[in-house]
């Protein structure tokens, strides 16, 4: 059972056959959702930032400025795309294209509700981790191709950070996986029907959220684009729509990270009264709100603090957590 059973979709896309129909409708939905979601999150970020700093944020375009990011998107599309003279032309062009690949591919396996999943894979979780690692590569490509010291420093910081924080991220995910004994996203959610994994694995959940914040280069881990030191890091030289693609990738990565946390720790689509998709999206956006809240509350870390925190605090704790989980599961 999936969403291709709906009669409207069957009428329009029926000629494609069941498998291709699921593929095409799913991809169309994803391609619609990714830009709209980023536009919405940009608005949320500006609004939350405004209210935290005791000012209203965007107010002019639409009620409470809700259409502001659409206007911004039109502006960005009209802008000239400048390529610096000494930049590596091909890589400078490819980097923003590849940075959105993980943003689109990862949505394929996320189970929004029991029927709203484009494709069920046996290795769903691995697919998300594997494709997320591509975005680091495109950040490096963009930073190096710009031929600018600030961009390069930003890119190098991004890689060092993502390598360091990927280890506790995977370790904390491992402790959930050995609990539910599956790499399928929907089975992990289904294993949480009476009690959320957050109750059994609070340490892993907190480590996971810290690490996704670091992986998406959000404050307090945003040394990658520290404005006061690096102008704006790896995308200093990018203009117009290319810059917008980097932003789109960042906001989509935030949403994907939050949905991963919802799937792994916060019971996925389970919730009373309303349908599954409502609860899933609500939980994911609540977690995104927490990330935005953290950004406007905490100051930026220093680079050595960042690395020490990953290697000396997070990795030992997550290893210990994994060990304890394994022993408890074996004994019980």
């Amino acid at each position: 059972m999936n969403m291709t059973q709906l009669p409207i979709i069957k009428d329009v896309y029926g000629f494609l056959g069941p498998d291709l129909m699921a593929c095409v409708t799913g991809l169309l939905l994803i391609l619609m959702f990714v830009p709209l979601n980023s536009a919405f999150l940009v608005w949320v970020e500006r609004k939350v930032a405004g209210h935290i700093q005791l000012r209203p944020g965007p107010m002019e375009v639409g009620p409470h400025g809700i259409l502001q990011s659409l206007i911004d998107a039109v502006k960005l599309m009209c802008k000239e795309m400048i390529t610096p003279d000494l930049a590596d032309k091909y890589l400078f062009w490819i980097a923003p294209c590849t940075v959105v690949i993980p943003a689109i591919v990862c949505f394929v396996v996320i189970p929004f509700s029991p029927i709203m999943q484009v494709r069920e894979l046996n290795v769903g979780i691995l697919l998300i981790f594997a494709f997320s690692s591509i975005s680091g590569l495109s950040i490096l490509m963009g930073g190096w191709a710009s031929n600018n010291k600030y961009s390069l420093i930003g890119a190098v910081r991004a890689v060092a950070q993502s390598i360091a924080y990927e280890i506790p991220l995977l370790l904390s995910t491992m402790s959930v996986i050995i609990m539910s004994n599956s790499l399928k996203m929907s089975e992990i959610v289904a294993a949480q029907s009476p009690v959320w994994n957050f109750v059994w694995q609070p340490v892993a959940a907190i480590i996971f959220i810290i690490c996704t914040t670091a992986e998406t280069n959000r404050a307090p881990f945003d040394l990658v684009e520290a404005e006061s030191e690096l102008v704006s890091g790896f995308h200093t030289e990018y203009t117009g729509m290319r810059d917008a693609l980097f932003f789109m990738a960042e906001y989509t990565a935030m949403f994907i990270g939050s949905s991963m946390a919802v799937v792994l720790f916060f019971g996925g689509w389970y919730g009373p009264f309303f349908s599954g998709i409502f609860w899933f999206v609500l939980k994911a956006y609540l977690l995104v709100f927490v990330t935005v809240w953290i950004r406007w509350t905490f100051p930026r870390l220093r680079f050595d603090q960042l690395m020490n925190f990953a290697w000396k605090v997070l990795i030992p704790i997550s290893l210990l957590n994994l060990l304890v989980t394994a022993i408890v599961i074996k004994v019980l």
Binding site: G14, F15, D88, V123, L127, S133, G136, L137, L140, A160
Partner: protein
């Protein structure tokens, strides 16, 4: 039964087209990894080749190995290569000339390895699998690693331990010299 697009274009053709695309990625990436003089382009070509191999694994129906290939080779190994290269001398400086003897030796070695591997693949008789519905869950894989492939597993961990000790040694020596 209504007419669907799969009646007009057989699915096997699409699968073969996807396979051909992946082969193009792999070979194109491999050439990019060797021919250009810019070392960052070389590494990115290597990434493309690894990505193509991921596609080949997917075509062969092994999702787990495909994802591991992407996660380890593209996400970790290529990334650390680039990281190491970014810390090397800048590219504006005159790049060292290609050493002809080195190029010829490398060509001979890789040609011999290629021929031996082609010979090995050709001499193998491929038979259709009789038993395809085996249990390949993580539990089975883990048990196989701990029983049948225990020696391989231990040797690989020894290798990793040596690599870690080596890097610590290099780091501490450099620090002492400074």
């Amino acid at each position: 039964m209504t007419t669907t697009i799969s009646n007009l274009i057989p699915p096997i053709m699409i699968a073969q087209a996807a396979f051909a695309l992946m082969i193009v990625f792999t070979l194109g990436g491999a050439f990019l990894a060797v021919i250009p003089k810019n070392i960052v382009h070389n590494i990115l070509g290597l990434c493309l080749a690894m990505f193509g191999i991921t596609g080949v694994y997917l075509y062969l129906g092994s999702q787990f190995v495909a994802m591991m290939q992407l996660l380890i080779y593209v996400g970790a190994i290529c990334m650390t290569f680039i990281f190491a290269i970014l810390l090397s001398p800048p590219l504006e400086k005159e790049p060292p000339k290609r050493n002809k003897t080195k190029v010829i030796t490398a060509a001979i070695v890789s040609g011999v390895v290629f021929l031996v591997m082609v010979n090995m693949v050709m001499s193998l008789k491929f038979e259709p699998l009789t038993d395809i519905t085996r249990d390949w869950s993580i539990k089975t894989l883990g048990q196989l690693l701990m029983t049948r492939y225990f020696l391989v597993f231990e040797v690989i961990s020894l290798l990793l331990a040596i690599a870690i000790i080596g890097s610590i040694m290099i780091a501490s020596f450099v620090r002492k010299r400074n």
